[in-house]
């Protein structure tokens, strides 16, 4: 706890605001696993398209489903997918980047040429390519985006490794007879961990954005899963008659992304 307070005090107000937003949203998601005001998939023809009221605080959609419950359920998916994407892309990217950066030579040359080619294609396009092969669905989206995120993490980590690998303390570790893997993971990695974490925060931000974009296009999560992006796509048809169906998931989506971007403020500008 004391460490957390010290950590908290060292950060700026952007971080504080972002952290609070994320904490509240995360709490909502946890609660929503156990309790929701209504069943998010239950249709009720008698209350279709109602505006916000005390019983349905964000109103109901054209099938009479409770928008608030659907937003909470949608956030579950957005969180899960973002987490999966980062776990996949961030870890594999870190391993690829640090090996490529530290070992150098032909391996590095080949990996980086491939990486540069892939990085020039927007990650959403890469994900589209993969989804067009394997089809839509929550887990396919995780894999597709996760792979699409590997190049940027690999480049981030590689750059840091190259910066650190000629540092004098790495040289003296070599002189002591430490092996390559030991140098990478014990001596170098702790030093690039903060940058990697910053990359993770920015990555979460991008993962939520990319997933919502895919789902909005109808090739992300498939029913009955309902991420926030998918809800927006579905509600686009009724946005003139019941705008709350668009506004509510939109605002939660923005809050989610804003939370991550505030937390990663100061890093996002480094072009991570």
């Amino acid at each position: 706890m004391r460490r957390f307070i010290r950590f908290w005090n060292k950060r700026n107000h952007y971080f504080h605001v972002g952290f609070v937003i994320l904490a509240v949203l995360f709490l909502c998601v946890i609660v929503s696993y156990f309790w929701l005001p209504y069943d998010p998939t239950a249709m009720n023809p008698s209350i279709t398209g109602q505006g916000p009221s005390l019983s349905h605080i964000f109103g109901t959609d054209e099938y009479g489903r409770d928008v608030f419950s659907r937003v909470l359920a949608g956030m579950q998916d957005s969180f899960t997918i973002a987490f999966g994407v980062i776990a996949l892309g961030g870890l594999i990217g870190a391993v690829v980047g640090s090996l490529s950066g530290y070992l150098g030579g032909l391996l590095d040359e080949v990996i980086m040429r491939l990486n540069d080619s892939l990085i020039s294609i927007p990650s959403i396009l890469l994900a589209l390519v993969m989804i067009s092969l394997v089809g839509a669905g929550k887990y396919n989206v995780i894999v597709a985006l996760g792979i699409a995120f590997i190049p940027s993490f690999a480049r981030l980590v590689r750059g840091e490794v190259i910066k650190v690998k000629d540092a004098e303390y790495v040289r003296s570790a070599k002189l002591m007879g430490a092996g390559k893997l030991r140098i990478i993971f014990i001596h170098i990695f702790p030093n690039i961990f903060p940058t990697w974490m910053a990359g993770v925060a920015v990555g979460f931000n991008n993962a939520v954005l990319a997933e919502s974009g895919l789902s909005f296009l109808g090739i992300g999560v498939s029913p009955p899963d309902a991420s926030l992006g998918r809800m927006l796509a579905e509600a686009q048809g009724v946005m003139f008659s019941s705008p709350w169906c668009v506004i509510a998931p939109g605002i939660f989506l923005i809050l989610l992304i804003l939370g991550f971007s505030f937390v990663s403020e100061n890093y996002s500008e480094k072009g991570v």
């Binding site: 004098e168 303390y169 040289r171 070599k174 002189l175 002591m176 007879g177």
Partner: protein, 502 residues
């Protein structure tokens, strides 16, 4: 009286950087302010120039030619900057605008002071820029005006900086460590230039430095600063012959006196390191994609043997290949020829920059125990005990084991570097400019520690430096290096004494 600073105080947030400082500069005088880092000498100079950031709170007065600069409005003060008072900074590499041609950067001073130079035509301005570049000793000024800073060497850039400070015919030039970032040979040239300008252009110089021996020969009067206060003042003779304050005495004592090491012939005949016909290469930059990569020879057929208990000095200018040689000895290079034979295990290296030589994310205790991790013949307790003993041997308290490198001073970090070598039982250490990043008083302590450790343990040293005085005091014998080649004493001195090309 040209400049008279009275009761100058500068505070940053809650820290007092300059505390009631008084100093004066007469017309045509060279005045030195000397002090270690954090003594407030640069801050004083910047505040006279009006170049401090907004978060600095300044009080006191700075009378220039009878006018109080601190009471002037912003635009009135601008008329003084560059015209009446100009300044040369420490870092010639970063002090010029990288995207602006040299000629335009020098000419800018004329354009910024239309009150004096508005009657000059464009042609006349160009001629004046070229003249000024010539005065500061730059060859081919017609070509230099259209060059960019990155195309010039450090010494040339510092001359350009001096040209910028000179072109407005100021009556006072403030030079803030103008030679610190330069090689020893270049330092001399720049100092001679400043002295010449002082004589011929009737320009007073306020010279700020941490280097006692430079100030002694260069200045007419000296102010010694410590912790934001002026502690002593006088002519160089007064101060060096008869220093009153303890601090001044310490500063003077820490100048390497160029005395040679006395215990000369103790060296044993057992070699720890033999270098035979060793050459090292770097890959040449490829000009186009399909070109076969060539290589540049950095170290050229070097032969050297170092014996147990011996301390060998390696002296050479920056870029002569001495750092490459040291990497080659430790096997950190890829492309080498010839032989390097180590007769001892675990050669160790002590680096110039104590800030990057220790892993910033690990505690000192962890760092010191690393070399022991691979050893199985010791128990954990024995390892811990060994680490604590070593830390005490290099003059530190065991508490530092629980600290991170960033919490230690530069001198303490160099002590830890020595401790690392001791812990793993090295018999041979390469020290690459181990004290040049440290304050003079700390330098002296670390050099003494080196001597003590060497006498106690019989470790052999290869001591690399560009400062001959330091090396003389430390080493049994000295080898010189130039253009990748080692040479014996006589020849080497000649190479070193020759004027550096500018």
């Amino acid at each position: 009286m040209l400049l008279s600073v009275k009761d100058l105080c500068v505070e940053f947030r809650d820290k007092v950087a300059v505390d009631h400082v008084n100093f004066q500069v007469e017309e045509n005088e060279i005045v030195g302010i000397i002090g270690e880092s954090g003594s407030g000498k640069s801050v004083s100079a910047l505040s006279v120039m009006g170049l401090l950031n907004d978060d600095a709170r300044v009080s006191g007065s700075a009378l220039f030619d009878g006018k109080d600069l601190s009471e002037l409005k912003v635009n009135e003060r601008q008329m003084y900057k560059g015209k009446e008072i100009s300044m040369v900074f420490q870092e010639p590499m970063t002090s010029l605008n990288p995207l602006m041609q040299i000629g335009r950067q020098v000419e800018e001073v004329l354009l910024l002071h239309p009150e004096v130079f508005s009657d000059l035509t464009e042609e006349q301005r160009k001629t004046k820029v070229i003249e000024t570049l010539q005065i500061v000793g730059l060859d081919h000024p017609e070509q230099i005006v259209s060059m960019y800073p990155h195309e010039l060497s450090g010494g040339m850039r510092q001359r350009v900086m001096i040209a910028i400070a000179l072109i407005g015919h100021p009556r006072l030039m403030i030079a803030d460590e103008p030679t610190t970032a330069l090689d020893v040979q270049l330092q001399d040239q720049i100092l001679k230039l400043l002295k010449k300008l002082n004589r011929e252009m009737h320009m007073a110089v306020l010279f700020i430095s941490h280097n006692m021996s430079i100030v002694r020969n260069f200045c007419d009067r000296i102010y010694v600063m410590q912790n934001g206060k002026v502690v002593e003042t006088g002519t160089p003779e007064e101060i060096f012959k008869n220093p009153k304050e303890d601090y001044t005495k310490v500063l003077i004592a820490s100048i390497p006196d160029g005395r040679e090491r006395e215990d000369k012939d103790e060296a044993l005949e057992e070699p720890v390191l033999e270098i035979k016909d060793f050459s090292a290469f770097y890959p040449k930059k490829k000009k186009h994609f399909f070109e076969k990569g060539g290589r540049v020879c950095i170290v050229d057929h070097v032969n050297l043997t170092i014996h147990t208990g011996e301390c060998v000095g390696l002296v050479g200018r920056s870029g002569c290949g001495k750092s490459t040689l040291s990497k080659g000895i430790l096997g950190l290079l890829k492309d080498t020829e010839g032989e390097v034979i180590h007769h001892s295990k675990h050669p160790q290296m002590i680096f110039q920059d104590p800030y990057s030589s220790l892993n910033p994310k690990k505690k000192i205790g962890w760092i010191l125990k690393q070399p022991l991790e691979l050893r199985t013949d010791l128990t954990q307790d024995e390892k811990n005990k060994l680490v604590i003993e070593t830390v005490q041997q290099v003059g530190l308290m065991p508490e530092v084991l629980d600290r991170y490198p960033r919490e230690l001073s530069g001198g303490m970090r160099q002590r830890i570097s020595i401790a690392i070598a001791l812990v793993q039982g090295s018999k041979f250490i390469i020290a690459d400019e181990p004290v040049s990043a440290l304050d003079v008083t700390v330098q002296k302590q670390i050099l003494e520690l080196f001597l003590k450790v060497q006498r106690e343990t019989g470790i052999a040293f290869l001591f690399i430096s560009h400062d001959r005085d330091v090396v003389k005091q430390m080493c049994h014998r000295i080898v010189y290096m130039a253009n990748g080649k080692l040479s014996d004493e006589e020849e080497g001195k000649e190479i070193l004494d020759k004027e550096a090309p500018v």
